[in-house]
C-alpha cells in the first residue's frame, strides 16, 4: 500500500519540471518585430518612410469637421485677408503659456525621432546594396526633417537641433537652443542633399516626394528666413547674426534652378494657361497626377479616405474674405483700384478686375456654382448670411470659391468628398523667386517675365514691369514699389491658401496689418433689399431663404463707411481693433514644464 503511494508521489513530482530558466520560461513576442528582424532590404526602408507620409505633423491633413482644408487656414491661423466668424485670439494677443504639450510635447517631437531613427539605421541596407538603391529614401527622410524643423522654427524661432536619435542621456536635452539661422542652415543643408537624392517628378506621379518638391520647400524656407532676418533685424526676434542676404540668395538660386528646369524640360510648369476658369479649376480637383504645376499633393480615395470640406465650402464654412483682400486685386489693366471704387455689389466688384478675384470668391453672375450636379443647378445667389449655424454661414459677404468642389452634391451629406489637398504648387516658386530677387534689389524685367508675368499671362493680366508705380492706397507703401508689387502679387495669387500669416510674420508686418485693425467685409447696403426672386429663375431653391436672409442682413453692423463690421462689438468692444503684441506674439511661448525641465531653453521674448 505504502509503496504504491510513494511511487505515485515520486511520479507526480518527476512529471513536474522544476528547473528554472528553461524553454518554458523563455517567451518571445509572437506578433512583433524589432531591429534585428528589419533593416534588410530597400523595401524595408520604403515601408518605414510610409509612416512619415502618414504623420499629420509632417504633412497636415484636411482638418475635419467644419473646416475647408487649406482654403480656411488663413482664417484659422489669423490674417488680414480671411476671417472666421469669431476673431482669432492669437492675433488679439490672447495666447497664454501652457503648462505642457501645446506644440512642444513628446508627441510633437516624436516625428523627429522617427526621422532620425531612420537615418541612424538605413546604412545596414546601404551596406547590403548600394547608396543608389537607398538614396531616394534618405532624401525623403531629409526632406521630412527639413519640413519638421521649418514648422517648429515658425512657431518658436531658436530650436534644439538633433540629427541623430535623441537618447535619455543626450546632451541636447539640457542644451541651450541653437540660433535660428543655424537651424535654417542645417535645414537647407538637408534639403540640398534631398534635392540631389530624390527622383524628379516628370516621370509621373508616385505619391512620393520629388526633387522639385524639395526645391520648392527649400525656396520657401530660404525666403522665409531671409525676409525674417531682414525685417526683424532691429527687434527682439532678430537672429544673432543677420544672414538675410545669404538666405535670400539661396531662395533666388533654388527657385531660379527650378525655373530653369521648367524652361529646359517643361516640368514643372503652370497648368491651365489661357483656359477659361483655369485658375479656379486648379483648386477643385480630385486628381493632380497629370498636373505639372501641383508638385506635391494628397490624394483621397472613395471608400477609403475622404476629405470633407466640400460639405462646408458651399455654405461659407463660417469663413469669408475681407474687404482688405478684395481691395488688393488690381484692375484688369494692371493698375490699382482707386480708393472708394464702386463695390456696391459683387458684380460691380469683379467688373474690370484681375480675373483671379472672381475665381477666388463667389459671385452671383449665374456662372458660379454651389452645386452643378443638383437639379436644378444651384448657382450662387447670395452669401450665406442666413446660414443656420455658424459653420454654414459667411460672416463677411465674400464667400470663398477657391477650393470649392461643386461637383459633389450627392456625396456631401455623408462627408465623402475626394477633393485633393495641395501642398506645393509651382506658382509659389515663381513668387518666391520674384520676391527674393526684389528683396535682394537685383530683380530685372527678365526675372519678372519668367516668374510673375507667367502667372499674369495665365489669367490674361498685363505684365508687371520693374518700373511699377507706388500705390499709396495699398499696404507697404513705404517699401520699394517693386517689393510692394511683388507682395501684392503673392497676396492675390496665393489668396486663401494658408500663406498669409507666415508672410505677415516674416515681413514683421503685424504692426501695419494687424494691430488696431478692425476687419470689415462687404458693403452692407449691397445686400439690404436683395430679392432672391428677382435674381434668377434658377435660384428657386434659394427663394425660401428670403425671410431669414433679410433678418440677418438687418442685424449686420457696419463701420462708419457702411462696411460690415464682422465682429460687431466683440473684438475689444468693437472700437480698438486687434491687440497683437509686436514685441511678443511673433513667436509662441514654450510650455512652462519644458522650460523648467531644461532652463537653458529660455522663454521666448516678451513671454
Amino acid at each position: 500500500m505504502k509503496t504504491i503511494k510513494y511511487v505515485s508521489l515520486a511520479f507526480a513530482l518527476l512529471s513536474l519540471n522544476v528547473s528554472c530558466n528553461d524553454d518554458f520560461m523563455e517567451r518571445q513576442p509572437l506578433d512583433k518585430i524589432s531591429d534585428g528582424n528589419y533593416w534588410k532590404t530597400t523595401n524595408d526602408l520604403k515601408l518605414y518612410l510610409n509612416s512619415l507620409y502618414d504623420k499629420n505633423e509632417l504633412l497636415a491633413r484636411e482638418d475635419g469637421w467644419g473646416s475647408i482644408g487649406p482654403y480656411g487656414w488663413d482664417a484659422d491661423n489669423g490674417s488680414d485677408t480671411e476671417v472666421r466668424y469669431t476673431y482669432n485670439t492669437r492675433m488679439n494677443g490672447e495666447k497664454t503659456i501652457a503648462d505642457d504639450k501645446d506644440g512642444w510635447g513628446t508627441d510633437d517631437w516624436a516625428p523627429l525621432r522617427s526621422i532620425n531613427y531612420f537615418l541612424d539605421h538605413y546604412k545596414t541596407v546601404e551596406e547590403a546594396t548600394s547608396f543608389d538603391a537607398v538614396k531616394q529614401y534618405v532624401g525623403e527622410a531629409l526632406f521630412f526633417r527639413a519640413g519638421f524643423y521649418f514648422e517648429k522654427l515658425k512657431r518658436y524661432g531658436d530650436l534644439p537641433w538633433a540629427e541623430t536619435t535623441v537618447g535619455m542621456d543626450s546632451e541636447v536635452l539640457q542644451a541651450a537652443r541653437t540660433p535660428r539661422n543655424q537651424i535654417v542652415e542645417n535645414i537647407l543643408g538637408d534639403l540640398d542633399k534631398a534635392i540631389s537624392y530624390l527622383p524628379g517628378g516628370a516621370g509621373g506621379w508616385t505619391g512620393r516626394l520629388t526633387k522639385e518638391t524639395a526645391m520648392a520647400l527649400q525656396s520657401r524656407i530660404a525666403l522665409y528666413e531671409g525676409t525674417w532676418e531682414k525685417y526683424h533685424a532691429a527687434d527682439d526676434f532678430r537672429a544673432a547674426t543677420n544672414k538675410s542676404q545669404q538666405f535670400l540668395e539661396k531662395a533666388a538660386a533654388v527657385s531660379g534652378q527650378l525655373i530653369a528646369l521648367s524652361a529646359s524640360t517643361g516640368y514643372p510648369a503652370l497648368d491651365n494657361v489661357g483656359v477659361e476658369n483655369g485658375y479656379r479649376d486648379l483648386f477643385n480637383q480630385e486628381n493632380y497626377s497629370t498636373s505639372k504645376e501641383v508638385l506635391f499633393w494628397r490624394k483621397y480615395e472613395a471608400g477609403a479616405i475622404n476629405s470633407i470640406w466640400d460639405r462646408y465650402s458651399s455654405n461659407g464654412a463660417g469663413r469669408g474674405a475681407t474687404k482688405n483682400l478684395i481691395d488688393s486685386y488690381l484692375k484688369a489693366d494692371g493698375t490699382p483700384v482707386a480708393a472708394g471704387y464702386d463695390d456696391a455689389s459683387l458684380l460691380k466688384i469683379v467688373e474690370n478686375r484681375d480675373p483671379r478675384l472672381e475665381q477666388t470668391i463667389q459671385i452671383n453672375d449665374k456662372k458660379h456654382y454651389r452645386w452643378d450636379k443638383a437639379n436644378p443647378i444651384f448657382y450662387f445667389t447670395a452669401p450665406a448670411f442666413d446660414g443656420w449655424d455658424s459653420e454654414e454661414s459667411c460672416p463677411t459677404g465674400y464667400q470663398i470659391y477657391k477650393g470649392h468642389n461643386f461637383r459633389y452634391a450627392d456625396a456631401r451629406a455623408a462627408g465623402q468628398g475626394l477633393q485633393a489637398l495641395i501642398y506645393f504648387r509651382y506658382a509659389e516658386v515663381l513668387l518666391n523667386y520674384a520676391e527674393a530677387k526684389a528683396e535682394l534689389g537685383t530683380i530685372s524685367q527678365d526675372d519678372l517675365d519668367k516668374s510673375i508675368n507667367k502667372l499674369r499671362k495665365r489669367v490674361g493680366m498685363p505684365d508687371l514691369t520693374t518700373n511699377v508705380a507706388k500705390d499709396p492706397n495699398f499696404e507697404f507703401s513705404s517699401l520699394k514699389p517693386i517689393i510692394q508689387a511683388v507682395r501684392r502679387e503673392r497676396k492675390v495669387e496665393l489668396a486663401c491658401e494658408g500663406f498669409r500669416v507666415d508672410d505677415i510674420f516674416r515681413w514683421a508686418a503685424a504692426g501695419e496689418l494687424i494691430v488696431g485693425k478692425i476687419p470689415v467685409g462687404a458693403k452692407k447696403a449691397s445686400w439690404v433689399g436683395f430679392k432672391f426672386s428677382n435674381y434668377l429663375p434658377e435660384a428657386t431653391p434659394d427663394l425660401s431663404r428670403q425671410a431669414k436672409f433679410d433678418e440677418r442682413v438687418a442685424a449686420l453692423e457696419t463701420d462708419a463707411n457702411g462696411y460690415i463690421k464682422i465682429f460687431k462689438n466683440t473684438l475689444n468692444k468693437g472700437t480698438e481693433g486687434f491687440k497683437f503684441k509686436v514685441n511678443r506674439d511673433y513667436l509662441l511661448p514654450i510650455p512652462t514644464n519644458q522650460v523648467t525641465l531644461n532652463p537653458n531653453l529660455k522663454q521666448n521674448p516678451g513671454w
Binding site: R27, S51, D54, T86, E94, D100, D108, S114, V166, A414
Partner: protein, 1094 residues
Amino acid sequence: MKPIFNTSAYGFQYLYQKKRFSLGVVLFLLANGVQANDLRAGIPERFVSKGIPTEETNLTTLQRELSGRVVDQQGQPIAGVTIKIKGGTATTSTDKDGRFRITSGTNAILNISAVGYKAQEISAPVSGELQVRLESNVNDLEEVIVVGYGTQKKTNLTGAVASIGGERLENRSVPTITQALQGTVANLNISTPNGAPGTKQEINVRGYTGIAIDADGNKVNRSAGPLVVIDGVQGGDLSSINMNDVENVSVIKDAAAAAIYGSSAPYGVIIITTKKGKAGKPVITYNNNFGFAQPINLPTMVNSLDFANAFNEVGANSNYTAKLFDDEVIKRIKDYQAGIIKDETMKNPSADSWLGWNAANANNDWFDIYFKKASFSQQHNVGVSGGGENSNYYVGMGYNQQDGLFNYANDQYKRYNVRANISSNITSWLTFNFRSAVSRAQTDNPAIYSGISGGNSYSYDYFHQIGRTYPTVPMKNPDGNWSEGSGIGIFTDGGRAKATTDNAILTGEFLAHLAPGWDFTANYTYDGTYIDNSNHRKTFYIVKPSGAKDPRGGTSPNYFERNTYKNQHYTINAFTSYEKTLGGHYFKVLGGFTQELYDNLRLRGSNDNLYSDEVPSLGLSYGVNRNAADEASQLAIRGAFGRINYNYKEKYLLELNGRYDGTSRFLKNERFKFYPGISAGWVLSKEEFWQPLSNAIDQFKIRGSYASLGDQAFTDNRYPFYPNLATTLPTDTRWIFNGGRGSSVGSPGLVNYGLSWVTTNTLGFGVDAALLKNKLNFSFDWYKRNGKNYAMESQGLPALLGVRPPLVNDGETETKGIELTVGWKDKINEFSYGANLVFSDYTGKVLKITNPKGLIDRQWYNGMTLGEIWGYETVGLFKDQAEIDATDQSFIHGGTWNIGDVHYKDLNGDGKINIGENTITDPGDRKIIGNNTPRYSFGLNMNAAYKGFDLTVFLQGVGKRDIMFDANSNYFWGFTDGEWQSSYFTVHTDRWTAENPNGYYPRAYFNSDRNRKAQSGYLQNAAYLRVKNLQLGYTLPKEILDRIKFKRARLFFNVENLATITSLTKIVDPEIVNGSAKVYPLQRNWAFGLNVTF
C-alpha cells in the same frame, strides 16, 4: 487534523468485543475514516495489533447507546458533525442524514460541533432520540477559514483574513458576486465604473497599489486588483462566476498570508470556494428573482426656451457675432411650447434638409427620451447536490438577464452558468476531484460608432452625445421619421455590436492522504476564454423633405468587424503538507510547486461594403478596406512555495510563508526572486492571567505580520524588454501612393532590459476579540505597505526626447490604512438579530520618484499624497471693474476679464495669477485644495429574523472624498468647449448673470476655460451614505412545507440602491463619479423572488 483516530479505535474495540457489529457500527467506522476495504478484509490489523488498552476506561459505568439527528436552522440534516462525550474519549460524527449513534454514560454532556456552526453542549437524555438543531455561526472564532493552499482555524490565524459565507450573497438582485461583496469586508474596496449591464467592477484591497502614467503622459493611479483563486486555482474571473454556486469567500488582506502566492498576489487574494456535494438523497434548490431597475441620478435638461436664451447669452459672452438662436427660432420655440405649432422643426428653406439644433423648435429632455422608466432583469438558479458512498456531486445552473436602460438602443446582458463539482474516493487514501464551470456571457448592443455611440463599453461618447443634444433638436421630423440630430436612428437602425464570451474551467485533482497528517494534492486546470465579438455598422438613411434619402454621416459604406479571442490559461499546482502535534506543539509544513501559462490569441477581420445588411459577414463584403490581423502573446509563471505553521497550545502562533517566483515577463537575470512573509499571534485570552476577564471577553488575540511580495503586473505588456517596431496595416494608414495605401513601419519605443519585479513590503498589526459569549466580535487592523522598485517613467526628461521614457524600477510608494470590523449577533426568544459594521481608511504617498525638478500637476513628485488635487483658491466672482483692474490674471486668459468671472487668489503675493515654474517649490498661486481618495469607507449590514420573517438592511458609503470635475465636463460646468459640446441642465441655472449676481456657477463662455480651472470654489464633496440593499423575506412554516413536500420555501423582496444621502451635484452618482461625470447611471432595482429546496 483529526485527533479522533485513536479514540475511534477504542470505540471499535468496544463494539467488537460486544459483538454489536451492526450497520451502525459500519457507518460509525466509515465516518471515522476507516475504509470499507479494511472491513472486508476482516478486522483491521492496526486495531488488533494495538490490543486492548491497558489503562482503565470508563466503559463499565452505566452506558446506553444514544441515537440522534442533527439538523440546521432550516431543518436540513448536517453531515460530519462531531459528537463528543465531554470529559470522555468517545467520539462520533453524523452521517449524510445527520444521524449519529454514540454510547454515552448517563448524565453525560454531549459536545456537538461542526464547522460553520455554533457548538452546543447538551445533556444526554435518559431515553429517546436526541434532536439537535445547530445554528450557523460564521463569526465564530472556531470557524475554519480557507487560506492559500489549505485551511486554518480562525482562532489560529495570524493575518488579516476575512470570510464571508454564501448566505450573505444569496438573493441579492445583482448579477455579479463583486457587486454583492461591496461593503462586506473592511478595505475590500469595490467600485463600479458605471451602471451598464455586464459591467465589471474594480476591486482593490487596502488602497493604492501604485502609480502610473497614462497614454497622454499624465499621472494616473494604478489600480491592481487582488488575485482571485477559485477552488484552489489562481487566476479566476469573478465576473463569470455564479454567486449561487459559492459556498464561501475568503479575503486575504494580509501580505504574509498572501506570500504563498508570491508575485501573483501583491495586493491581496480573494479565495472562492464553491459548493460541494453532500452525501445523501439529492437536494434541489431553486432561487429566482425578477427585478425592475430605474436609473438614478440623471441630470435634467431645461426647457428649450430657457435653453435657447441661455445659449444666446453665453454666445454673447463668448464674442459670438450672431445669435445662436435667432428671433425667428425663439418665436417658433414659444409657439411650439404654446401648442400653436405642432411640428418639432421645419424644412430648411435654402436646402433639402430638415432644420436641426439651433434652428429647430422642439422641447425635449433627452435623458427622459433616452432612458427607460424601468428595465427588466431576472435570475434563475438551480442547484442539485447529492452523493453516494464513494462519490458526491454538486451541479449548479444559473441564468442571469439584465436589460439596459436605453430606450431605442435595446441593450442587454445575459449570462448562463453551469458548474459541476464531483468528488470520488478511489481508494482509501486517494480522492479524485473533478470540477468544471462553464459560462457564457452575451451582450447585444447598438453598433459602435466612434464619437457617436459607445457600444457595449458605454464609453464617454454615448453620454457626451446625449448631454450635448439641444432640447430644441426634434425627436421626429414632420414627416414622422427620426431626426438626424436625435441620434435615435443610429441606435434603432445603425446595426448591432454583439459579444459572446464563453469560459470553461476544468480542473482535475488528486488528493492523497499518505499517512496520518500527511497529504498531497496535485491539480491541473485548463481555463479557456473564447470571445466572439462583432460590430456591424449598417447604412441607414435620413429622409429629406423631398423624400430623397441621404446616408447618415458615418454609416456609409456599411461595415462589419469580427474579433475572436482564444485566451487560454493552464495551471499546475502540486503541494504536500504534513501536520503533527507533539505535547502542545503543533507543526504544519507545506511545500509545493506551481506553474502557469497564459496563451492569448486574437484574430480580427473587418471590411466595408457588405452585400447585404441582413447578413453581416466578412465573406459577404466587397470593400477595398479588407483587414485581417492577429495578436498573440504568452506569459509563463513558475514558482515554488512553502509554509510553516507552529503554535503552542493555540496560544502562541507563528506562520512563515515564502515563494520563489519567476516570470517570462523579465529577462533571465531579473526573472526569479524570493518573497517571504512572517506573521505571529498571541492569544492572550488563553493565558492564565486572562481568567478574570474571560467572562466578559471570550477571545482576545493580537497579531503582527511582515511580508515582501513581488508584482509583475505593472505593465500589460508581456514583453516589456522587447523594442518592437510599430507596424501599421495599409487599411489603417491615410496616405495614398500610386499603388494605393501602403503599410508602414515605425520606430520602437525605449525599453529597459533590466526591468524587474516591483516589491511590496507590508507591515501589519491586528487585534481580534470576541465578547459577551461571542455575541460581539471585534477586529482591528493597521497596515503599512511600501511599494519598492516601482516601475515608472522618468518625469525629468524634456519632451525633445520624442518618446516615452522606459519603465525603470526606481519609484517608491507607501500606503497606510486601518480597518475595523464589529459584529453583533443575538437572539431573544424567536427574535434574532445582528449587525456587522466594516470601516476602513487608507492614504498613499509617493516616497521616491524620478522627477528631479519636482514638477506638479500632471506629474508625480516626491512626498506627494496620492489623490491630491491642485488648484487655485477662489476668492469669488468679480463684482465690479475696480476688482478686475486690481488683478492680473492674464496668464490664465489673455483677453478681457469681466464681472462674474472667477477672481483667483494671489497666493504668493506677486501680483500675478500663474503657475510659477509648475513645481513643488514654485507652484505659483496653486495649492493642494483637496483629495479624491475615498476616505472612511464603511458598510453596515443589519439583519433581523422573527418566526418566518427576515429583514436585511445594508448601508454603505464613503465618509470623505473630494472631486474636481474636468474643465471640459459639460455635465458639471454646462458651458464648455463651444456651443456644440455644451449642455444646460437644471443645475446650471444657478449661475452668474447680471440678474443673478450671486449664482453658484461663474459667467459662462463657450470658448474660454478661464473660469473652469481647478479651484477651491468648485471642489465637490463626493461623500455619501447609501441604503445599498434592503431585503425582506418570509419562510413558509414547516406545516405547509410538509404538505407541499418542500423542504424549504422562502419569498423575498429586495431593493438595491434605495436611497442616498450626499451633497454632490445632482448630475452624477457619488458611487460612480468620475472627472467627466459622463457615465451610465446606476439603478434602483426593485426585485422579488423565491427560494425553494426540495
